[in-house]
Symmetry: none
Subunit: 225 residues, 4 copies
DNA sequence: TATGAATGAGATTTCATTCAT
DNA sequence: TATGAATGAAATCTCATTCAT
């Protein structure tokens, strides 16, 4: 009875199950953990943390609910790991980029591209991070918050550099500008209809142009793009 | 026993109960419905739709949980009504403003102010609308979507007018700009720490300046603020 | 809000409401009570006692749930009154018929006709009585049982007379025969597809023939029909 | 506290709990599912589908109410499985009997005996089937209906054969006769007071005699019993 | 590495009923 | 005669989690 139920669920979730058994034998243990977290991320992103059940996650994996607990200690722990992957994905190599060569405008543009990219790819952990961090217990939220802060520093740093170099107008409120930029980029997560690839790239470039003009000093020749 | 339980809950939720009996007699029936929806909005905004229980709502009202169902048919129906109030609050009189006098920049600035205001006031229905609409069943989502579309039209219309009049640069992708603007404004909902009043007003003005510069043609004298 | 709800319900239940107000003023008080019990009977018959809600009854009347309690003291009390009407409808004038003229076969045939008739008419109180008496509290069940017993006596009496007169074979177990006859007749309630009128009358005659032959002595000429 | 509650309930329901733990280890998994359905059948038969609560079922099993949902997906699903067992119990080997040797009268008598037997044994699933199928959702009712149809065909088939062979009078309306026979047999379910064994067997034989005489041609020597 | 069986807590929702008006 | 507002109790069902295997 339970057996049939599981298979039905797996099928309903659009998961092929024939080779699951096989895969289990052929790939390493870490990989499976990653799969589980990816499934959790997908479900959290789609239904929200509280709207998602561990059963949903298990279904997506062709696994029983109870088995999940081999991979994470609790649903909340799973969310924390998902969020960590999400924010890490956003941070990516932006710190390296920001510290690298190029004008502030160029570097900020690259950072923004990196931010919108995973959303364009519909990256579940990033989406889950954006909407669901707030449901993490305080302690975990603080841990994730420390990572998020690093990313905020990247953008702030660029804006500060821009002001110092004259590329960015001096009257800009850096914190607000930073939040505005992040808000605009994050908002890209709300366009579920946009397919990845060309369209989203266009969106990113348009956003970048908007921002660069918005923050630039009155020397249009400075503006990239 | 149940009675004590309720009182405990009400107290735990920080609600004074002594005059509840009185209030029931003194205020009209419509009002009570509004109170219930306000409580629902607050709870949905704070904990998310799925994270909020109807018990939480009842507690906030000093009411028994079953009694809520006198006012709404289901939790989802409550969410729809909350969301409707949220989007209506955002729309507000923006259509009138947009159709009114003044330059595009001035009118867009006013519209943005109106958008950020309720978030600054921590308006629960608006916050609930922004984060929780997506959990409405399809049919309801469509109904709310129709309202949201009206607001989007307001912003689009202004941008179009701006392009026509030369105030806004012609190469702007209107849809993207519209989403960017809304995204930035909505993002204000993510600053729960900001107290209302001066600070948020400052934020709004800064955002407005950013946007106006971002979309303006290269004639700085046109830009407001 | 509640008002709209009620109208929606009334409409959904296929009840015209425009003249309800009028009717209330024009017809006597007893009548209204009968209407309420008829509605209760219909709902009990259709959904079973426990499956029927007082709301269902109110809907059918275009009335609010609370108003029902003006007409009956409790749902169980309503069921008792419905059942009483049901069994009384079955008893009808069968006692008179049984005491009247004609052969046993003729009189039994008439009694059976009277039994099947209300089922053919889809008489709600009779259907409700047959299926739902068992959910009455003991005391009420006993009261109704006394009435039912009267009807059983009618059939038993006819069978006894038949044996005495030689019309019915002497080896017949009267109690069993009585139950068999009632069982067959009651079973007519299970044919919801049969429209009233000719078809059901045909069914009744066929049942009568079956029974009369079944109980008759080996003198086929005695058998009616 | 909950623990005591359960024990109290189990005791109140007349269930011994000491060896429950033991039983769990000693009997196979399929068995447990059967036990659960048997308990459901008993409760449905006794109180009606809507009058029975899942708590009642759990009590009878010494199980927590939530645990039932491991064995069935919903109360309605449980009813469907119960009804299936009920109608299957009635069908039993009647198709084999009907296709076997012997006169139509002999075979019909055996079929009727098989029908009344489970009712005499107070078989819960059969009683539940008879009274509660109507509360199944349409789709399920159709599924069960297909099985019921098979049984009806058995009786119809015998009557047709009887007419063909001259054992049964040709003017008999087969559908009505079939329903009358089933109705009479089913009605045996309404005698809850009758203890199994001799008494019910006597009832069955009496019913059979009634029916056979009722349907027979005017050649009394043909009639069995 | 994964599962079957079960559970405690709690969720939403329904229901019969009450009572002041 | 009927209703609006509310309630206590209970119903069905879901969920995260545990634990022996």
């Amino acid at each position: 009875m339970s057996d049939e139920t599981t298979r039905m669920r797996a099928r309903a979730a659009g998961i092929a199950d024939p080779d699951v058994q096989l895969r289990r034998l052929t790939i390493g243990p870490r990989r499976r953990t990653e799969e589980v977290l990816a499934a959790a991320a997908a479900v959290f992103a789609e239904r929200g943390f509280h709207g998602a059940s561990t059963q949903d996650i298990a279904d997506r994996l062709g696994m029983r609910q109870a088995s999940l607990y081999y991979y994470f200690a609790s649903k909340e722990a799973a969310l924390e790991q998902v969020c960590q992957r999400g924010i890490e994905r956003i941070i990516g190599d932006t710190e390296v980029i920001a510290a690298g060569p190029g004008s502030v405008a160029e570097r900020l543009a690259m950072v923004m591209r990196r931010h919108v990219e995973p959303l364009a790819d519909n990256c579940a952990s990033v989406r889950a991070y954006l909407h669901e961090v707030r449901f993490l217990p305080k302690e975990a939220r603080r841990r994730i918050g420390r990572l998020a802060r690093r990313y905020e520093r990247v953008v702030e740093g660029l804006l500060e550099q821009g002001i110092a170099s004259g590329e960015v107008r001096a009257d800009l409120d850096i914190e607000i500008a930073r939040d505005a930029i992040l808000g605009m980029c994050n908002h890209a997560a709300h366009w579920p209809g946009k397919e990845p690839g060309g369209a989203m790239a266009h969106v990113a470039e348009e956003l970048i142009r908007l921002v660069l003009r918005g923050i630039a000093t009155e020397r249009p020749d400075v503006v990239a793009g």
